[in-house]
């Protein structure tokens, strides 16, 4: 696990409240994969804060691929859809883990 600056992650306001286990940034390098892009361009690396939420990781994924906010996306990790309100730490994400980007909220018929 690598501890870095808050580069590439959304600022977690709880950090201002003083030191606690959850306010320390634990930056881990992950790979985001967007299968909609050609195979040689669809994986990008990014550092994310393991003490942040899945919602923040979705923000990092958007950043990595310049996906606009109007496109709803979700992340899959090891075949499981990640719930945006959960903390990233609950998923035991390892260094270099692959997080898949999939469209979200498709409901028309």
């Amino acid at each position: 696990m690598i501890i870095l600056s808050k580069k590439d992650v959304i600022w977690d306001n709880s950090i201002k409240k003083g030191p606690s286990d959850s306010s320390i940034e634990k930056m881990v390098k992950v790979r985001f994969k967007d299968p909609q892009l050609p195979p040689d361009q669809n994986v990008r690396e990014k550092y994310i804060n393991m003490n942040g939420s899945v919602f923040q990781a979705i923000g990092a994924a958007r950043d990595a691929f310049n996906i606009p906010e109007v496109v709803p996306i979700a992340l899959l990790y090891k075949g499981r859809r990640m719930n945006p309100s959960n903390s990233l730490s609950s998923y035991n994400i390892e260094e270099n883990a692959m997080l898949m980007i999939v469209p979200d909220q498709i409901k028309g018929g």
């Binding site: 090891k78 859809r81 898949m100 018929g109």
Partner: protein
């Protein structure tokens, strides 16, 4: 040409396929919920393929805005029920041999026996609530459920089958609200901060006054709503709305294009066929059974849990989704039902005891799963299960899974 010759000739080209068994398809039934953009294409495909029985469910009537993509319907059908018209078109335009049954009522009002008697359930609905309902029922009845959804240039097909993949409720937060009326109470009561808030306030006022939502095709409703909206925009100095803009904003219809619908319904129809072939594989000719086995071993025959298509990049991506063992629908915390068989056990015993009881009771050999995790008979029951867990037993010889509820005997709790 005799009737039999006509029948053989109609399906000649597909009967040349390996793994194909026209009788198997003819003896199958599919329940299709939602006869809209994807649903109408799916039933067209299945009837051309010679499916034996289709059960169509749709409470909606045909509107002008359907005619850009729902090829079963004509201008003269406006106002008629979709399922009824679709039944007529299927038999007159595509295949008179298909037995079509229709239900022009809400999915929640369809008797459970209707779901029980079909081989596959195909969901082509346009909202999360109907999807969640079908999902729950399909899991409880252990029926394969193939759901499709589109949104503009994007579309997806999800395969749901207990023990095989995740269900629609696995790892998902609760579905988004279907209407904006209830999403922001403070906006509805307080001062509108943006122009759109006036529209939500007006919709809420309309709902409160008439106890229903405005009808899209009623000019009277839309004019009444527009009047309320523009009173609000005037009071708070926002630009006023016109009817077209208001209709698009409030009714929030999902963008839909026939090309994406065709692709998605094609994938969904093929998945239905693959599911039937796999589910009824014991009816295939011996040679085809061996071919299927080899294809599966080399991963040339697959049923992906999620397929996503983007019309803008012309890409398909498939994913295997794993079930959440604690899913409120298909997992440990599953749906309550009084019909499910109960087995009472001592938690300190080995899981083998449960397996033996089920084997003896149902005269077969079973494998057991919780979510899609295999349960080993050598493990202690208390290590792998909790009191009240629902687990699924798959017979080694047959194809019909069953679910059993485990109750711990009090003495050892």
């Amino acid at each position: 040409m005799s009737q039999e010759d006509q029948y053989n000739s109609r399906y000649d080209r597909q009967e040349r396929l390996v793994l194909w068994d026209q009788k198997l398809i003819q003896n199958s039934s599919v329940l299709v919920v939602g006869i809209g953009g994807t649903g109408s294409e799916v039933i067209k495909n299945l009837s051309l393929l010679g499916i034996g029985k289709l059960i169509l469910v749709d409470v909606d009537t045909i509107e002008y805005s359907n005619l850009n993509r729902q090829m079963l319907f004509r201008e003269t059908d406006i106002g008629k029920n979709k399922a009824e018209v679709a039944k007529d078109r299927i038999n007159t335009m595509f295949n008179p041999q298909v037995n079509v049954e229709t239900f022009s009522i809400k999915i929640q009002d369809i008797p459970t026996e209707i779901f029980e008697k079909v081989d596959v359930i195909a969901g082509c609905v346009d909202n999360f609530l109907a999807r969640q309902y079908i999902n729950s029922l399909a899991i409880e009845l252990l029926k394969p459920y193939i759901d499709s959804a589109t949104d503009g240039y994007l579309g997806q097909v999800q395969y749901i089958q207990k023990n095989f993949s995740s269900c629609l409720a696995c790892d998902n937060p609760p579905p988004p609200d279907e209407t904006n009326i209830w999403t922001a109470p403070c906006t509805l009561i307080g001062t509108p901060r943006i122009r759109e808030h006036c529209a939500w306030k007006a919709l809420y006022s309309f709902y409160t006054k008439y106890n229903r939502e405005p009808r899209e095709n009623s000019n009277k409703d839309m004019k009444s709503l527009l009047k309320i909206v523009n009173n609000c925009t005037k009071n708070y100095r926002f630009p006023s709305y016109d009817i077209k803009e208001l209709r698009q904003l409030i009714l929030a219809h999902i963008p839909s294009i026939v090309t994406v619908n065709s692709v998605i319904s094609g994938i969904q129809s093929q998945l239905i066929i693959n599911t039937l072939l796999f589910k009824k594989r014991s009816s295939l000719k011996r040679k085809d059974q061996q071919i299927l086995k080899k294809l599966r071993e080399s991963e040339r025959f697959q049923i992906p849990s999620l397929t996503i298509y983007s019309g803008l990049t012309s890409t398909f991506s498939t994913f295997k989704l794993l079930a959440d063992p604690d899913c409120i629908v298909c997992g440990n915390k599953g749906i309550d039902s009084n019909q499910i068989p109960i087995i009472q056990v001592y938690p300190d015993n080995k899981f083998k005891e449960i397996i033996q009881e089920v084997n003896n009771k149902y005269k077969d050999e079973f494998l057991a799963f919780r979510g899609n995790k295999y349960l080993d008979e050598g493990d202690l029951i208390k290590d792998i299960l909790s009191n009240g867990d629902r687990i699924t037993f798959s017979p080694l010889s047959g194809e019909n899974d069953m679910r059993v509820k485990i109750i711990f005997k009090k003495k050892n709790i």
